[in-house]
């Protein structure tokens, strides 16, 4: 809806910390499909769902069985379910609206990350889990059965143990770490192994169709698709993030790779054939690295529109994000508090990044707010360069205004359609199936009744759960809070908003600072100078306004006094 009037020249990656979220000790985060809800897994086993629009807590998913720290959270396609993995080797599937646990499965290895199958029924049943030191596994959440994915090809091209179910009961040795992800529609699974290879596996037949050796040949730590499925990135132990173009069609990738595999027949070994298949599936686009310090990366991902790649420094005590464009040019470095970073997520739509620090806080990075001054006057246009203005001879004649007024209504006979909605093209890929399933975009807010003494500034953080958490982590929590307080001055000089001044008690749940540009300050002062001269006021909505007419004047006087005070402060 905003597209017609949003300034297209503005950049679209974050620049500064806007605020931070605090709830216990958060470990991992994930946005839902629309970016309206943010799920966070906490150290005490709770999943918190933030309403990202109001930055308030919309849901708390907790169960007596779920007390171990959460390692990963994943949303279902339509947002009704949330899957969480924890250090007690468990997977828990939640129903978000009903706050009910639907399924709970215990694996044989601690899963470090989980993803739900993008397709499938409205209640997800298949998920992909990457254990700590084992091959990735497909888990059926309904039956609890697991299928170990092949993570390696042996030297002669054969699979070591194809399609083994519950492999570990055989006593076979575990593999070294792997990373895995579904592609856009879940037809294929891309696995990055510790030999530095990408395997492309059919998610139904569990057959390896292709292999792509990664330059450097080191352990693959992360493998991530962009939201539209057209790009893939890998993060390897050689401290390089590699971006690949996905040469397969986003939809129907399974059929296409079968076709490629059928056509590649004359190769001396099966491995060579799979490599040839791989060359038709992925093409490397660019490599991202810190050429000077060679820092290791953590939790890399794409922006929602696939234009940017963000990677976090994996160095201890460093909260640093690097943003590159897709051709590999570094465009931004974001420095945060001196706390190691453990997870990041880029908003699906907005130029916003959320990063989680080891202290358990989530920092929201957003574009610095720059006022679009031309929006304040309909005929005002900002010029990039000076232009010579040619005055019309009759420009200041009174008749010109009459003509202008008439001109405004020249299209009065045009048909006006006030009912037809525009399709939201950002999410159009849901349209073919959304007729059967309504996507969960927002969680209905149930207002919390005021306390009897009506303290609207009461903090959600005063719940006993948070108190317990604070108590157990008091030293780091104190440090975190201090660092949190210190962030805005360190990042950039900021002014306190009116709302902040009027609600000084607002502290724990969220903090919001916004920088006023010099122009903003000038405009505010100009407005202050202008206001005292304003005397006439039109009537209000009712005859009572005759009586009210006096009070607004008093309000004006009060406002003038307030402004004088603000002037003194400035």
């Amino acid at each position: 809806m905003n597209v017609p009037i949003v300034d297209p020249l503005q950049g679209d990656f974050p620049e500064t910390i806007e605020e931070f979220l605090q709830y216990g000790s958060m470990k991992c985060i994930a946005f839902n499909r629309r970016g309206t809800l943010l799920a966070a897994g906490c150290a005490n086993g709770t999943c918190v769902i933030w309403d990202f629009e109001t930055r308030g807590i919309a849901r708390e998913l907790h169960d007596k069985d779920c007390t171990a720290p959460i390692t990963s959270v994943a949303w279902s396609k339509y947002g009704h379910h949330l899957l969480a993995s924890a250090t007690d080797k468990s997977l828990t599937l939640w129903h978000v609206v009903n706050e009910k646990k639907i399924a709970r499965i215990t694996l044989q290895q601690t899963p470090l990350s989980v993803r739900l199958h993008p397709g499938g029924p409205s209640t997800p049943s298949i998920c992909l889990a990457c254990p700590l030191s084992s091959a990735p596994i497909l888990v059926d959440l309904n039956t609890g059965s697991t299928t170990v994915l092949p993570a390696f090809l042996s030297d002669n091209g054969n699979l070591p143990a194809p399609n083994t179910r519950n492999k570990f009961s055989d006593g076979s040795p575990p593999f070294t770490p792997t990373a895995a992800t579904f592609d856009k529609y879940g037809d294929l699974i891309y696995v990055g192994n510790s030999k530095g290879e990408i395997l492309i596996i059919d998610s139904k037949s569990i057959k390896v169709h292709a292999v792509i050796p990664i330059p450097g040949g080191t352990v693959v730590k992360d493998i991530v698709f962009s939201r539209d499925g057209r790009y893939l990135l890998t993060n390897s132990n050689d401290r390089v993030i590699r971006v690949y173009d996905n040469l397969l069609p986003v939809k129907g990738s399974g059929e296409e790779i079968e076709k490629i595999s059928s056509n590649n027949i004359s190769y001396e070994s099966h491995y060579e054939k799979l490599k040839a298949n791989g060359a038709s599936c992925l093409a490397i686009s660019c490599e991202l690295l810190d050429a000077i310090a060679k820092i290791p990366w953590k939790a890399p991902c794409f922006s929602g529109d696939s234009e940017w790649i963000v990677g976090a420094s994996a160095s201890k005590g460093e909260h640093r994000l690097c943003i590159w464009n897709r051709s590999g040019r570094l465009v931004k470095i974001l420095e945060g508090p001196k706390e190691a970073l453990i997870d990041i997520a880029w908003h699906p739509v907005d130029p916003t990044i959320v990063s989680v620090s080891v202290a358990g806080l989530a920092y929201i990075w957003a574009k610095e707010h720059v006022e679009n001054w031309s929006a304040f006057a309909p005929d005002f246009v900002e010029l990039e360069e000076n232009e010579e203005y040619v005055e019309r001879e009759d420009e200041f004649d009174l008749n010109a205004y009459v003509e202008k007024a008439e001109e405004q209504l020249v299209n009065e006979d045009e048909y006006v359609d006030i009912e037809t909605y525009d399709k939201n093209s950002t999410f159009s890929d849901l349209d073919d199936s959304s007729s059967t399933t309504m996507e969960l975009i927002y969680l209905a807010a149930i207002p919390i009744p005021d306390t009897p003494d009506e303290q609207p500034d009461k903090c959600l953080g005063s719940s006993s759960k948070l108190e317990d958490s604070n108590h157990s982590d008091s030293p780091s929590s104190l440090d975190a809070v201090q660092n949190g307080q210190a962030i805005p001055p360190a990042s950039s000089p900021m002014e306190v908003d009116n709302s902040t001044a009027e609600e000084p008690a607002e502290a724990v749940n969220s903090k919001r600072r916004r920088r006023l540009s010099a122009k903003g300050l000038e405009l505010q002062q100009a407005e202050k100078g202008k206001k005292p001269t304003t005397k006439n006021k039109s009537n209000g909505k009712s005859p009572g306004s005759n009586g009210k007419q006096l009070e607004p004047a008093n309000g004006n006087s009060s406002a003038v006094d307030d402004e004088a005070t603000e002037d003194d402060e400035i």
Binding site: M1, N2, P4, I5, T36, D51, E53, T54, R55, G56, A58, D350, H369, E371, N372, A375, F376, A377, P378, L409, E412, E414, Y415, V416, D417, I418, E419, T420, Y421, D422, N424, I441, Y442, A444, A445, P447, I448, P449, E454, P456, D497, N498, S499, E502, E527, K530, K531, K537, S538, N539, G540, K541, S542, P543, G544, E551, P552, G555, S558, A559
Partner: protein, 338 residues
């Protein structure tokens, strides 16, 4: 844009008054059908909000708590909550679910049906404090009921988190009192009108000004709202005009006149259940109905004895509610023949 081929509009069928009620002891300031169509909420300078049956205008509940007059009310999209804007500088969120549950489904609109045990129970669950002067208008985010926008005599547009009661955003929007705020259908932007003669569009997420649609010192903008599809805005000014504007291009497409609007901030409405009409109150004590496309006056509804300050159209039935000021104090129900 080329002229679209459209089937001719159905012939106009007149509205007639079917009910009148006086639920308040002072001027009615606002009338609003609930989105589900089962309740009619009315606000008044007597500080109360009344919930009426949309068919019989029988009083179902009275919401008390404001210390001063109420100027505007807004329903959440699910009809579960009602937000009221008051001269006591606060907004209140009322939980209407028990009232809805008390309506007997078997009795259709609820007229004569079972009523909740206590029609005067305290249903206020949240008081939003922060405005420094009268709060003049309020609007629930239609995409979700998690935020409310408000405008007031302190010249600010504020956005509130309904769940916690926190003021999420305070926008120094205008240099004179804000007369109206309205969310677009997906909740991404807000249109505001003001006595300073401007009508502006704000990004609901960042609070930044996206566009100024009207920028005249005179006359004051008394009302503004988005069309149902979010492509146009309807703007009323204190010069007897209502204009339909394409806010993306800034062009005025239609102008509706013939009524009287010089003093009060009259609330207008789109009627879409039969033909497409623009409906507005007037200071000559009538309700005016215009054809959306042709701009001609289709009907003048007479019966009120003072300014008609607010009108509301039923979401599914060809029904209009209107409220009158102190010399009238009635809520009237108009039904289209057929």
């Amino acid at each position: 844009m080329s002229q679209q081929q459209q089937a001719p509009a159905p012939p106009y069928r007149p509205y007639r008054q079917v009910r009148a009620a006086t639920p308040h002891s002072r001027a009615v300031s606002c009338v609003r059908f609930s989105p589900c169509g089962r309740l009619l909420a009315t606000a008044s300078l007597d500080g109360t909000v009344a919930l009426l049956s949309p068919s019989s205008l029988a009083a179902i509940a009275t919401l008390r708590g404001h210390a001063d007059g109420v100027s505007d009310i807004s329903w959440s999209t699910d009809s579960f909550y009602l937000c009221s804007a008051s001269d006591d500088r606060t907004l209140r969120i009322w939980d209407v679910r028990p009232v809805l549950a008390g309506l007997n489904p078997g009795s259709g609109g609820g007229g004569g049906g079972a009523q909740p045990a206590d029609p005067n129970a305290d249903r206020c669950i949240r008081v939003l404090k922060g405005h420094t002067n009268f709060v003049f208008s309020a609007n629930f985010n239609p995409q979700t009921n998690s935020t409310v926008a408000s405008g007031g005599f302190d010249c600010t547009v504020r956005i509130w988190d309904v769940k916690s009661g926190r003021c999420v955003r305070a926008i120094d929007a205008h240099s004179e009192p804000v007369t109206s705020v309205h969310f677009i259908r997906d909740g991404s932007i807000i249109v505001s009108g003001s006595h300073d003669g401007t009508c502006k569009i704000w990004d609901a997420g960042t609070g930044s000004c996206l566009k100024t649609v009207i920028d005249e010192k005179k006359p004051a903008v008394s009302f503004s709202m988005f069309s149902p599809n979010g492509k146009f805005i309807l703007v009323a000014a204190l010069d007897d005009t209502l204009k339909l504007c394409n806010f993306a291009s800034g062009k005025f497409l239609k102008m509706y006149s013939g009524h009287v609007n010089r003093k009060y901030c009259l609330q207008s409405a789109f009627s879409v259940t039969n033909g497409k009409y623009i409906v507005s109150g007037s200071e000559d004590n009538c309700v005016y109905i215009w054809d959306l496309q042709g701009k001609n006056i289709l009907q003048k509804l007479e019966g009120h004895t003072d300014t008609v300050i607010s009108v509301s159209c039923h979401p599914t039935e060809n029904k209009i509610a209107s409220g009158g000021l102190d010399n009238d104090r009635t809520v009237r129900l108009w039904l289209q023949d057929g």
